[in-house]
């Protein structure tokens, strides 16, 4: 088991070294994608390795001369990676998501390194228009045609169906782990779950699936009740991973993270593509539109779904006693959504704590004090309720 987890951790911690080694070993191309909703199955169907470009923990250096400091850490990090010539191993970069900071970073990348092939196919962000599905299908067909031209390949329907099947299995296996963790059958730390998901974003999916199967077979399940720690749900970080140190810190303060809607977490695996839909592009577009029902994304426009109400339900379903919101500094969609989350949790008397994270560093001891107080408060409430009962 540890060997498999170590492999996930290595790929998650040094993602680009893993990709470079894979390219060298297999002689395949690697196509970078930017978060959050890119259907990487399409790249997989070309034979290339899809790689989600990750925020790296390195300090921003030359990229700081290309972008104002009031942009989010992810976008400043990827610009810095380009200006520091760290992404040259990618054969192209593709993205589909309408986020002003992501678009800005991509435009800066294009000008800073004109030799980089970086293409944009905009998925409609407004999900409930009568034309949302049709528009998404059109966009994805254009993306396929563009990839065929850039990579010099032909993408067949059969290849797409196979890729969808492989990706669905990957999502299902990770969801199985989530379910076992929610119910207390297994004890995986949140940072280990992050390694599992993050490595899936950069590893070959078939290889990742094989490792997941191996991991699940080796895990010792338990029916013993969860330890006396406080069960916590973690929400936020919509497009990149929170530093694992923060997740570890939360769990060091007497809490157990039992579930999340993080991008490098459950959000990434929430929605399968319906293999029963005949046209695989229509199937991918449908999954994109429907994904918001499974885990709402505040970067999408969806009048029918309220993230705050969904979160209340998610916290309740997994038996968490509190919510920790990890909010990335300068993330405007999250800034819009957070006050409603705060109000909803206060209205329903569910404890919650917001922690703002920054690329340039978080005062960890300050966070520790906040989390310790939060956990103690929940314990006191729990004890008071037990006495009252």
């Amino acid at each position: 088991m540890n060997t498999v987890l170590d492999k996930f951790a290595q790929a998650a911690q040094r993602p680009y070294e893993h990709v470079k080694a894979w390219k060298q070993e297999r002689g395949v191309k690697a196509v970078g994608t930017l978060p959050m909703h890119f259907p990487a199955e399409i790249i997989h169907a070309t034979g290339a390795l899809p790689v989600i470009v990750q925020e790296m923990p390195d300090a921003i250096t030359s990229g700081g001369g290309a972008m104002y400091p009031f942009f989010c850490g992810y976008t400043r990090s990827i610009v810095d990676q380009v200006t520091e010539d760290q992404l040259g191993f990618l054969d192209a970069i593709m993205f589909t998501d309408h986020c002003v900071q992501l678009l800005s970073a991509a435009d800066v990348i294009r000008i800073s390194r004109p030799e980089t092939t970086i293409h944009f196919h905009q998925l409609i962000a407004s999900l409930r228009q009568p034309w949302s599905l049709e528009s998404s299908v059109k966009t994805l067909r254009e993306l396929v045609a563009d990839l065929e031209e850039v990579l010099g390949v032909v993408v067949t329907e059969e290849a797409l169906r196979h890729s969808i099947s492989v990706f669905n299995e990957n999502r299902r296996l990770i969801r199985d782990l989530y379910q076992m963790r929610r119910t207390g059958q297994i004890q995986l730390r949140a940072s280990q779950m992050q390694h599992i998901v993050k490595s899936s974003m950069v590893m070959d999916k078939e290889t990742h699936n094989a490792l997941l199967r191996e991991l699940i077979a080796s895990l010792k399940t338990s029916t013993a009740p969860r330890s006396d720690t406080v069960a916590i749900y973690v929400s936020g970080h919509l497009c990149h991973a929170p530093r694992p140190e923060i997740l570890d810190l939360i769990e060091e303060c007497g809490a157990t993270i039992v579930d999340d809607d993080l991008y490098t977490g459950y959000r990434y695996v929430s929605t399968d593509v319906d293999a029963g839909i005949g046209d695989p592009i229509v199937a991918l577009a449908t999954a994109y539109i429907r994904k918001n029902d499974n885990v709402p994304c505040p970067t999408r426009i969806d009048p029918e779904v309220d993230w705050e109400e969904w979160l209340l339900g998610a916290v309740d379903r997994c038996g968490a006693q509190g919510l920790v919101v990890l909010l990335v500094k300068f993330c405007e969609p999250h800034y819009f959504a957070y006050p409603r989350i705060k109000a909803a949790f206060e209205r329903n008397d569910v404890p919650h704590l917001m922690i703002e994270t920054e690329h340039d560093g978080v005062a960890m001891e300050n966070v520790r004090t906040k989390v310790e107080s939060f956990v103690e408060m929940i314990k006191v409430q729990r004890a008071a309720r037990a006495v009252a009962a």
Partner: protein, 454 residues
Amino acid sequence: MSAIITPEQRILGAEPPIAKKANRLQATKLNNQMVNAYWEDLFRAKEEGRLVCWTEGIQLNPILQAADIAWCHGEAAAALLAARKESAAPQAHMETLGYDRELCSYARTHIGCGVMNQSSTVEAQTLLNVDARTLGSRIPAPDMIISAYPFCSTGQQWDNELYRTFGKKVPIFNISMDWVWGNKSSAKYMSGPEFREKVAFLKKQLQDCVRFIEGITGKPYDWDRLSEIMKYTKRAAELRLEAMRLCKARPSPASFFEWTNSIAPVNFLPGGPEIVHYFEQKKAEIESRIAQGIGSVPVEKYRLWWDGIMNWNKIGWLSDKFAGYDACMVAGRYTHMGFWQEPQVIDLRDPLDGMAQNYITCPISISAPQVIEKIIEHCEYYEIDGLILHGARTCRAFSYPQYMIADAVGKRLGLPVAMFEGDMVDETFYKDEVVSSRVEAMLEAIDASRARMR
């Protein structure tokens, strides 16, 4: 540089001496009258039984005007409040609710108006300390919201938040504006298959938007009236561009600040003979100034370009500040590259296509390579000596290409720049001391460059 302040003055925290004042155009007073009349008319809309639409981003007002719907343009409302020093109240309401100050200040101010609007009951006034006499709370609540924001995802999210602020009870129509990224080399400014596809998609959504409007008004849409309104809008836009081009003259008869003060007629005022008359007056005054050799600043030693959105609570103040430096802000991206910037493509028999083309080529909707080429064209035409890059802290859509702009104009035109942070309507981000030192350094660089050339 007569207005450069001394270290002693800095230590004492004195206001910079405004030794000279900008020479304001008389025609601008007419603009102010029209703007005041517009807002007063909007404040009365509900009493007069008219429907009200809240919108922001692109100029949808002609479409609404043709359906007899009153409109509140979000940025215009925020700018008005900032200019009249009343933006703090709605911003404070938003902060109380937990909205972060780093969020778009236009959105915070506009949504704050919605919160104040909802809080106008006696109980809410007591609880939230809302003063019903403030401008923010006088803006009538919407009967519909139309969202159409180019490039900036925050714009769509702003409308989504408004929709929720009003309890999801106000119908909303979401228009998606695709960005012309340019995946293929055939994609050029206003041409190429990618551009035409995006225009067609937007035009179709505008047609659907008209059906949405018909559903609310219960009346068939008056397409002839839209053409009539666009006739005035198009003519006003043409006159504005002609008048702006005249400012190539030395000294420049009008400044970027004057054009900022003339945004309303091409952004949110009703389309009619008044806006045409306004730009005729303005152009005539500019021609008269050229004939007499009168400049926008008393002494024009430097000709500058302003990149970035205006700091709306500082227009007059900055106008005088730069006049004090003997610097004329001749042109800028915000004014000279937007607001019906391509009127010639508007066919009055089928105005939606041309309108869509204008919407999709506004200065935040074209990508950085095209922005840079356009800026270089303008800088060469207006014979610019240096660039002011105002990084509006909470408008990332406008600010993001500025490092690239600075790099390009430096390399290709040899122009110095002064970059500083500020904001559109949250004046707490503006630091005058930083602005002064950076502007003075740039002007000294221009002086040094000129000395070397002699």
